[in-house]
Structures are given as structure tokens and as C-alpha cells.
């Protein structure tokens, strides 16, 4: 599948985004960065190039949204940044650690200790209560959660009356908020969220998004969110646009209309 992007448009749009490692590093403190990352699936006829050389910095303490048409490589990029997937070429750093050099054991530990996740669906372990799900990464690590912080997180997501409930007894929005609480509870350096509001109605979605934004504003959290929804993207501080496996544009302090505008440009 190829996108109707002419080379000129591509170059034109790309001009707006920093493209070299030095450029992105000069922009300020980074929570994570990708340098020349390519990702190729399959071989021969089935060969798909999902990422075609992505260089990107995730600024610390900011809310970054990744947008792009379906199949543009958003999830792939996020998985590579979060240490869930290996890259074909290039380097990925979280803080100062180069993920691309870690073995599975260390990568797992890094995910456990320094990264939080929120997925589109199926975020919770059905046999555990809401509270147990929130503390799961710390339980796995065998560390005690900081009680004051845990209280703050629980109150922020407004789940106190639901802590003893199992996921099947919670609404979809509540489940996503539990997932957000889990991602926050272990004070990770960075939270990755892949379409966290994709399955929610607009009201529940707004709750989750405000919660993520507040965690950035008030707690200094770094959040990276993949989304399709211009409204969701407007909650972010920065929107990065992806098309055909490349970064084609970025937009600071976005509004929904602004994002929609750029997206139209990409879809053209």
C-alpha cells in the first residue's frame, strides 16, 4: 500500500520537523529518542517496511501525541520506543539507556521499572482486583508502592470506591482509568498509550485524556500517546505526524481544528 504523497509534499512537510540526532538533542531534555529507526516485517514478497528511518525525540515532562493515517507505523514506532519490539536498524534510547543493546531480561526490567503502558483494550488482568492491577508492576518487581503517591493517583483517577472490584465489574472508561493509574503508580519515566480512548465514548475519553494531561501538568509525567482522533491529540503539547513510516510534520500546542487541517493534508 502506498500513500498519495508526492516527494515534494513529503520534503516540504518534513521541513517542519527536526531530522537529525543533533537537532533533536539540542531541543531540550529528552525522555526518549529514536535515531534512524527502521522496521521491516517479513521477507521477500511479504516484505513490509513499517518504519523508514525515524528520528524523533520525546521531550521530558510533556504530552506528545503521535498521529497518522492507518498503517502509517504509529503502533510500530511506539512499540519500538517502549522496548516491546526490536528495530531492524537504528537506535532507541530511554533516558540514557540504549534499548537496542539490551537483552530480553534487562529490557523486561526496564519496562517494569521505567515505563508505563496503556493499551486500547484488554489492559487489565481479569483475576486481579482494580487495586491489585494498579500495583501489579510493583508487585512483580517485589517493591512496595509509595502509599502517599498511590493515594494521590487513586484519588486523581477517582477510583477509590472501586478498588476491590474486578475488571469485569467495571465500565470500559473505569477500566481505562485503572490502566492509567497502573501506568502512573510506579512513577515511570515515560508512559506510552496506544489509542487509550479508542474504545470509549467521548465523555469517558475526555476523562482519561484530562487525567493524562493533568499527570503531565501537575506531576511532571512524560506521556506519549498514539491516536487517530484530532480531539484527543489536542490534549497534547506536541503532535508528531507520521505517514508511510516517516515523520512528516509536527505541531506544538495543537487545537483539534489545527490537527484536522494537517491530517487532511496528509490524507490528500
Amino acid at each position: 500500500m502506498t500513500f498519495p504523497l508526492t516527494t515534494s509534499v513529503n520534503r516540504d512537510l518534513a521541513g517542519a520537523a527536526p531530522t537529525t540526532d543533533d537537532e533533536i538533542r539540542s531541543a531540550g531534555p529528552l525522555a526518549a529518542r529514536a535515531v534512524g529507526v527502521t522496521k521491516v516485517y517479513g521477507t521477500g514478497d511479504a516484505r513490509v517496511s513499517a518504519l523508514g528511518g525515524v528520528t524523533l525525540g520525546i521531550p521530558g515532562g510533556r504530552f506528545t501525541a503521535i498521529m497518522g493515517p492507518s498503517g502509517s507505523g504509529k503502533s510500530t514506532l511506539m512499540h519500538c520506543l517502549a522496548g516491546l519490539d526490536t528495530v531492524t536498524d537504528g537506535k532507541v534510547f530511554v533516558g540514557d539507556v540504549e534499548l537496542t543493546r539490551l537483552d530480553d531480561r534487562r529490557l523486561t526490567r526496564l519496562r517494569r521499572d521505567r515505563i508505563g503502558f496503556v493499551f486500547q483494550s484488554f489492559n487489565l488482568i481479569p483475576t486481579l482486583t482494580a487495586l491489585e492491577n494498579i500495583t501489579l508492576p510493583m508487585d512483580i518487581a517485589g517493591v512496595r508502592p509509595d502509599p502517599a503517591w498511590l493515594d494521590t493517583v487513586i484519588d486523581t483517577v477517582g477510583l477509590r470506591p472501586r478498588l476491590r472490584h474486578r475488571p469485569s465489574e467495571l465500565s470500559g472508561g473505569q477500566q481505562q482509568r485503572v490502566a492509567c493509574a497502573r501506568a502512573l503508580a510506579s512513577k515511570p519515566e515515560i508512559i506510552f498509550a496506544d489509542e487509550p480512548t479508542g474504545n470509549l465514548d467521548s465523555r469517558s475519553g475526555a476523562e482519561v485524556l484530562s487525567f493524562l494531561r493533568n499527570s503531565v501538568r501537575e506531576m511532571g509525567q512524560t506521556v506519549v500517546m498514539v491516536t487517530h482522533d484530532p480531539v484527543a491529540a489536542s490534549y497534547a503539547d506536541l503532535v508528531v505526524f507520521l505517514a508511510d513510516g516517516r515523520i512528516v510534520d509536527q505541531l506544538a500546542d495543537p487545537t483539534a481544528e489545527g490537527v484536522l487541517e494537517r491530517m487532511k493534508g496528509l490524507d490528500r
Binding site: H79, A82, L84, D85, D104, R105, T108, R109, R111, R112, D113, I115, G116, F117, F119, F122, N123, L124, I125, P126, T127, L128, E132, L136, P137, D139, I140, A141, G142, S168, R182
Partner: protein, 846 residues
């Protein structure tokens, strides 16, 4: 369309269905193996026994109404005068006396060759009209010469010129080996040892001087064996009979065949148990496959497939699994039959060989059993599949809503009640076929427990998991949660283990109770300090000359040495075993206490114990119609009633009766009582010395006897447990299968756990905990059921001497620990699979 779908599904779920098929394979292999083994062995024995009929037409022997003596060999000898009469019969071309009896070759180690295995035979040379061909040397010709069979020669290294001791009726005596011969055409002996003597020596040692154990005759041309048998039968005295060689062979084979029949029933029982256990796994696998395919099935229904078609597609898969599994089971069974044969020869019973006999009926049975069980087990999941509402295709939650357990509780309760009733009836021996009743009852109880266990699977696994959670934290909590989350699945998986464990626990409780009862009985009653008997292992007890008792009585420090034996007699047409001896002399060693009547049994008199007297409505002086082994009928008088006594058994027959109706008047045991002041060790030493010439006899003191009883109970326990281990193996397969399927089902969950930082090792541990909880749950259920069964059987056998209930707690605890280990083992592979799962693939799976 449905056929293609079935084939596609079979292909798609190769691995899971493969494990299920393996359960079918193991069960059917055991059935097929047993059938092939017994078919082959039957045929081999037929060949062996009919070998002799080529050269002999008619056999003359002492008449026997039934096998009278405990050792089953003593038959009234045929005097030489009868041989002369047979030779004079018109149509007899040739007749010869046959001499066979007990004669054991003493090995270089001073012990009997062949030990407690198959019989040790002595024969007269040339023995019969059948061929015993010399391999080396010549036939024995004097009172000090023997020839031995080639298998024994090879085993012992004895060869011509060697001096060898042989023990027969009397003490061991030295002989020179002058020849080695081959038995039959094949030279195979089936573990029997042969020592051949010249005819006069053979008669003296094995039968009686001037007598034969039987006569064989060959018919002249034109006379049929049956005709000859009639003619010979007309001239021989009434206490002898003439039968065709074919019938003699059939009779001889009959005993072996009966034994083999018993053996194959015994083995088949375990095959049936395995298949029953396997059916739980089949049921569970199909249930899980159906649950996982709810959406697919719903989609099928939504696009217009009928319920019948959905059911058929699942049943088609079951048919495939059952058929493939049974065919593989048949092949594996052939291998198993070869293995069984090897096992027998390892134990010294080297069976005659012939090509493997795979009868058409074996093939039909194996396939029918395998396929039927698979279809039945898959039927319920298939029906559930058909009930999938089309709307399930649109719903997100794949899990079907939990159905009420009420119907289960009712069905399970009903099955438990009926099963327990059948069991009770069977054990009480009231019903028609107690074995079928007990088996059916146990089956129903197992089903009931399996049906009811989901009701308490959750609380029990939670309680069992609690200490794990406290000790091991989150991984244990997750594992325990997984074990609790689907009680039906946990129960069905645990049920397979439950059955094997229950049977093992039953046998353990019984064995412990038996040992405890024997201990108690021996403690209470055995007045004898020592016991001398021929052979000590399995098989009928051997017999020996009563003169041994006199020799033992002469040992200093010995107060009495009382010979005794056992004999079969029919009372009111019921065959029973009676102890034989002088009641007055046996009273001391047995600790007999009379309740009424006299402590003496003259001709046609018998003593019975109180319990038997009560059951038969007899008192001292009653009479009962009886028949002895020689066929003679008599009105037998109950001379007295003694208090129940485990050593004496239920009946005690006097020596006069025995001498009149049972040939040979040999003994199987001598009970020795020492002077109270004599030193036991010194007496034992002297007794041993006086038995030096009888390597076939064993001397045991009380603790030896207890030890031996305990050892034989232990042996039985080990053997049955070993056979039940097969069902445990199948149960392990079941746990593996369930876990593997659960892992696949929980792919996304596992991906999530990995994403939020669970290490591979933690993941493996989580699955291990789940597995251990399931197995321990199954084992607990099994042990509980087993204790119940053991108790019931003990109660039923209380009147037969097993009057103490003993629950071997330590042993059962060890089984529980073993079950936990089983859980660990079963988790290895599914846990590895889960740990290897690609995190991303797991997250991406929808």
C-alpha cells in the same frame, strides 16, 4: 462444507488435539496390548500342549473330581499292573508308563534352580512317547545318574560329568549328569526345570516304587483316539480314567489358560481405568476448544449453519482424534505385548513364543473402544457448541456466561447415591456379579465427584493457594487466580488425576489394613515358634515328605513338630480349602480353642470355625454332604466348632480322611514349637542344620512370617501402583493439555503481563503455581475418595480377616507431595511456551 471445516480445524489445532489423541493412544494401547498378549500367549500354549498329541493318543491317570491338593500335582499313582492291562487292550500299538513329579536341581549356590518360579519337574527316562531329544551324552541308566534339560544346563553351567544335587521327596542326593536333552521341538521350557532319572529311580523318587504317574498309549492303525480311550477305559480299575491325549492337553492347558484369563482381566481393568481417565481429558480439551471458538461458531450460526451442522463439525473432529488415537494405540499395543512378554521372562517365566497374534477381534475392540469413548466425551462439548447464540459473534467478551451449577449438583448427587449403593451391594456380595457392581459403583462415584467438584474447586484452590500467595506474592496470586477462575476446567483437569490417586490411595489403605490385620492376627494366635515350608513366594505351596517332621522333632530343644497341609473338599457342592492335620497336635501351634464338640476329626469328620458354623447353621454333630478330590461322595460330620482362628482358617480336616481320599499324603508345612526354656537362636541353628539336605524348604520364625506376609502385601501394592501410574501419566497429559490451551487462551493477558514488566521466569512460575494447585486439588479429592473406598472395602472384607482399618498417613502425604511434583512437571512445557510467546504478538492478538 462441514467436512472441510472439520478437516481445517483438525489441522489448525494439531498440537492440542495431538495431546488429546495421546490420551486415547495410551488408554487403547493398554487394552490392545493386553488383548494381543493374551491372544499370543494362548496360541503359544495351545501349540506347546498339542505338541505331545502328535505321538500319543490316550492317557490313563488317577481319577480326580477336582484339583484336590493345594499344590495341584498330587494324583493317585497308577500301578504297573494297570500298564500291563492297557498293553493287552486290542488296538493299543504301544503303551508306556509316565513318571513325573517334583525334583529340584540344586544350583552351584546351594539354592534350588528356578526358585519360586515355575515348577521343578523330575521325569522318568525315556519319559513318554513324545520327543525329548538328547543334545549331548546319553540317557540316565543307574540310581546315581541324571540327564537335565538344555535350558537348565545353560543357566547353571552344568554339563555331562558334573556331580549335581537333586532334591525330590527325600533329602537332596548327589547325581552325575550323564546327558543334556531338549524339551519338545523348540527346546523351550517356560521356566520349568527338568531332571530325568532312569525309570526305577524315577518311580522311587517321584511316585511310588512300581507305580507310574500316568500311562500313555498309542493307537494301532485304524483305531481312533476316542475309540481307544473307550476301550482302555473299560479295562482299567474304576479309580483310573482313560482320556484322549487331546483332552489331556486341553485339561493341562486349562489351568494355564485360566491363569492367563485372570491375568488379562486384571490388566484389562487397568486399561479400562486408563481409558476412563483419558475420557476426562478428551472432554476437557473439546470443551476448551469449543469455548475458544465461540466467536467462530457463532459466526457460522449467524451465516446460516444449523445446530446439527455445528455439532457434527465438532463430532467430526472427535471422530478423527479417536480414530487416529486408536490406530496408534493398536500399534503401541503390539509393542506393549512384546514388552509384557519380556517382563515375564525377566521374572523367570519365559513363555513359549509364536508370532504376535493380532486377532480381528482385538482390532475391532481397540478401535471401537477408542472411538466410542472419544465420541461420548466430545458429545457434551459439541452440544454446547451448537447452543452458541449467533449474537455471540458480535459480543466482545468471548467467555460465555457462567452457567448455573445447579443441574450439575443434582446429577452429581444422584450419581453419587446410586454409585455408593452399587458399591455397597457389590461389596456385601449380595448382587449377581460383585465385580461388575463394585466397578460400576466406583465409576459412578468418580463421575459424581468430577461433577460435584466444580462446586468447591474455587474455595479449595483459594485455601490451597493462600500460603503460596503469602510466600511467593504476585506470581502466586496470579497462578492461584487462574486456577480459580474456571472451576469446571480446573475440576475436569483435576478429575483425571483424582481417579488414579483415588485408586492408589484405596490400594494403599487396603494394603496397610491388611498388614495391620496380619500383624494383629499373628500376634494373637501363632503358637508356633517356627514354620517350615516349601517355597515362600507366589504360586501354590510346594509339598514334601512327612518324614521331615520327624527329623525336626528330633532336634534338641524342640517340643513338637507338627506336619500339616491344605486340601480342597466340596461341601454342599461348594469347593472350600481345609487345613489338614491332627487337630489335637495342631491345637498348640494354631492356638485352637474349641467352642463345642471334640478336638479330633476321624474319617469323614471335619472341624469348622465359629463364623462358618454360624453361616452354615451347623453345630457339633451336624452333617453335610461332601465330595473329596477322588470323586467319592460322603456324608461329612461336623465333629466340633472352634473359635475363629486366622491360622487354621475355616475348616480343619483329619489325617485319616486325607489319607483315604487324597493321594501322596504329603505335607506343605511343619509347625515347630520349641521348649519354653530353649534358646530360640540355638534351636534355629539346629533346625537349619537338620534342613541342610532340603534346600527346597525354608525355615521361618514369627517375625519372618510377618515379614513375608508384609512383603507379599507390599509386592502386590507395588505392582498395582505401578499399573495405576499409567493413569497418572494420562492425567499429567491432561494437565499439560489444559495449561497449554489456557496459555493460548490467555495470550493477550500474558502479553500484557510481559509488557508491564513480568520476566519470563516469573511467568513460568505463575503457570507452575496454577498447575501445582490443580494437581494438589485433584490429589486431595482422590485421596479423600480413596480413603472412603479403602474403608468400604476393608469393612466388606472384615469377616475375611482384614478387621483392622489402617490409613497410612505418611504414605498418602508422600502421594500428595508427588502430586505437587506432577504439577511442576506438567507445567514445564506450557510454561516454556508461554514464556517464549512474543510480547507484541500477544498484545496484537485480538
Amino acid at each position: 462444507m462441514i467436512t472441510r471445516l472439520t478437516l481445517k480445524n483438525l489441522a489448525a489445532h494439531k498440537l492440542r488435539l495431538g495431546l488429546t489423541a495421546l490420551a486415547v493412544v495410551l488408554g487403547t494401547a493398554f487394552v490392545a496390548g493386553t488383548l494381543i498378549f493374551s491372544g499370543t500367549t494362548d496360541k503359544a500354549f495351545d501349540d506347546l500342549f498339542s505338541e505331545g498329541t502328535h505321538t500319543v493318543d490316550v492317557t490313563v491317570q488317577g481319577r480326580q473330581a477336582f484339583a484336590g491338593s493345594a499344590d495341584g500335582v498330587a494324583v493317585k499313582p497308577v500301578p504297573a499292573s494297570v500298564l500291563d492291562e492297557v498293553r493287552g487292550v486290542d488296538g493299543v500299538a504301544e503303551a508306556r508308563g509316565q513318571i513325573t513329579g517334583f525334583a529340584a536341581i540344586v544350583g552351584r549356590d546351594g539354592k534350588i534352580v528356578g526358585g519360586n518360579g515355575p515348577p521343578q519337574l523330575g521325569i522318568g527316562w525315556p519319559s513318554s512317547l513324545s520327543d525329548y531329544g538328547l543334545v549331548t551324552g546319553r540317557g540316565p541308566a543307574g540310581p546315581h545318574e541324571i540327564a537335565i534339560d538344555s535350558v537348565t544346563a545353560e543357566k547353571t553351567g552344568y554339563t555331562t560329568g558334573d556331580q549335581v544335587k537333586v532334591v525330590a521327596k527325600g533329602p537332596a542326593e548327589p547325581y552325575e549328569v550323564v546327558g543334556v536333552f531338549k524339551v519338545g521341538a523348540s527346546g523351550r521350557t517356560g521356566g520349568v526345570t527338568y531332571a530325568a532319572f532312569d525309570p526305577a529311580t524315577a518311580q522311587r523318587l517321584l511316585v511310588e516304587p512300581g507305580s507310574f504317574s500316568g500311562i500313555v498309549a498309542k493307537a494301532a492303525n485304524g483305531v481312533s483316539p476316542a475309540e481307544l480311550a473307550t476301550r482302555v477305559g473299560a479295562v482299567v480299575p474304576a479309580e483310573y480314567e482313560a482320556i484322549t491325549a487331546q483332552q489331556a492337553a486341553d485339561d493341562a492347558a486349562g489351568g494355564v489358560r485360566e491363569l492367563l484369563g485372570f491375568l488379562s482381566t486384571f490388566l484389562l481393568t487397568f486399561g479400562v481405568i486408563s481409558i476412563f481417565v483419558g475420557s476426562f481429558i478428551i472432554f476437557n480439551t473439546f470443551s476448551m476448544l469449543v469455548a475458544q471458538r465461540t466467536r467462530d461458531l457463532a459466526l457460522l450460526r449467524a451465516v446460516g449453519a444449523s445446530r446439527r451442522q455445528v455439532t457434527l463439525s465438532v463430532m467430526g473432529e472427535a471422530l478423527g482424534v479417536g480414530l487416529l488415537g486408536s490406530i496408534a494405540g493398536l500399534l503401541a499395543g503390539a509393542g506393549l505385548a512384546v514388552g509384557l512378554r519380556g517382563l515375564f521372562s525377566a521374572f523367570g517365566a519365559d513363555l513359549p513364543t509364536t508370532g504376535l497374534v493380532i486377532a480381528p477381534s482385538t482390532v475391532v475392540w481397540t478401535l471401537a473402544v477408542g472411538v466410542t469413548v472419544t465420541l461420548v466425551a466430545a458429545y457434551f462439548p459439541a452440544r454446547r457448541a451448537a447452543k452458541t447464540p449467533p449474537v455471540a459473534a458480535l459480543r466482545d467478551d468471548v467467555a460465555t456466561p457462567a452457567r448455573s451449577l445447579r443441574a450439575r449438583a443434582v446429577a452429581g448427587g444422584l450419581s453419587a447415591v446410586v454409585g455408593a449403593a452399587l458399591l455397597a451391594t457389590g461389596l456385601a456380595g449380595d448382587g449377581g456379579n460383585p465385580l461388575a457392581l463394585v466397578g460400576g459403583g466406583a465409576l459412578l462415584v468418580f463421575l459424581a465427584v468430577a461433577m460435584l467438584s466444580p462446586l468447591f474447586a474455587r474455595p479449595v484452590t483459594r485455601v490451597l493457594g493462600a500460603p503460596l500467595v503469602r510466600l511467593f506474592g504476585t506470581t502466586a496470586r496470579l497462578g492461584s487466580g487462574n486456577a480459580q477462575r474456571n472451576p469446571r476446567r480446573t475440576s475436569a483437569t483435576a478429575a483425571a488425576l483424582m481417579i488414579g490417586m483415588a485408586l492408589i490411595a484405596t490400594v494403599s489403605v487396603l494394603a496397610a489394613s491388611m498388614t495391620a490385620s496380619i500383624d494383629k492376627a499373628l500376634d494373637g494366635s501363632l503358637g508356633a515358634d517356627f514354620q517350615v515350608s516349601a517355597g515362600g513366594g507366589f504360586g501354590p505351596p510346594g509339598s514334601f515328605d512327612p518324614s521331615v517332621a520327624a527329623a525336626l522333632a528330633a532336634v534338641p530343644g524342640v517340643r513338637s513338630a507338627t506336619p500339616m497341609t491344605y486340601a480342597q473338599v466340596k461341601l454342599d457342592n461348594e469347593p472350600v480349602f481345609a487345613a489338614v492335620g491332627d487337630p489335637a497336635a495342631l491345637a498348640g501351634p494354631f492356638g485352637l480353642e474349641m467352642e463345642s464338640g471334640t478336638l479330633a476329626a476321624g474319617a469323614d469328620e471335619i472341624l469348622v470355625d465359629a463364623k462358618t458354623a454360624k453361616a452354615g447353621g451347623w453345630t457339633a454333630g451336624s452333617t453335610v454332604r461332601g465330595q473329596y478330590a477322588d470323586g467319592a461322595f460322603a456324608t461329612i460330620r461336623i465333629a466340633g466348632v472352634f473359635a475363629d482362628n486366622p491360622m487354621a482358617g475355616s475348616y480343619l480336616m483329619g489325617e485319616a480322611t486325607h489319607a483315604a481320599h487324597y493321594p501322596g499324603s504329603r505335607v506343605s508345612t511343619v509347625l515347630v514349637v520349641k521348649e519354653p526354656t530353649a534358646d530360640a537362636a540355638a534351636v534355629r541353628k539346629d533346625l537349619d542344620a537338620s534342613l541342610a539336605a532340603y534346600p527346597n524348604l525354608t525355615l521361618q520364625d514369627q517375625s519372618d512370617i510377618k515379614e513375608q506376609a508384609r512383603a507379599s502385601v507390599g509386592q502386590l501394592l507395588t505392582m498395582i501402583t505401578a499399573l495405576l501410574v499409567l493413569s497418572i501419566v494420562i492425567a499429567i497429559l491432561g494437565i499439560i493439555n489444559t495449561l497449554a490451551l489456557s496459555v493460548i487462551e490467555r495470550t493477550r493477558e500474558i502479553g500484557l503481563l510481559r509488557a508491564v514488566g513480568m520476566g519470563r521466569r516469573q511467568l513460568r512460575r505463575m503457570i507452575r503455581y496454577e498447575s501445582v494447585l490443580i494437581s494438589v486439588f485433584g490429589a486431595l479429592l482422590g485421596i479423600a475418595v480413596g480413603i472412603g473406598f479403602g474403608w468400604a472395602v476393608q469393612r466388606a472384607l472384615a469377616s475375611q480377616g482384614i478387621d483392622v482399618l489402617s490409613v497410612p498417613a505418611a504414605q498418602l502425604g508422600a502421594y500428595l507431595a508427588a502430586a505437587a511434583l506432577v504439577g511442576v512437571l506438567a507445567a514445564v512445557w506450557p510454561a516454556r511456551r508461554a514464556a517464549r510467546m512474543d510480547v507484541l504478538r500477544a498484545i496484537a492478538t485480538q
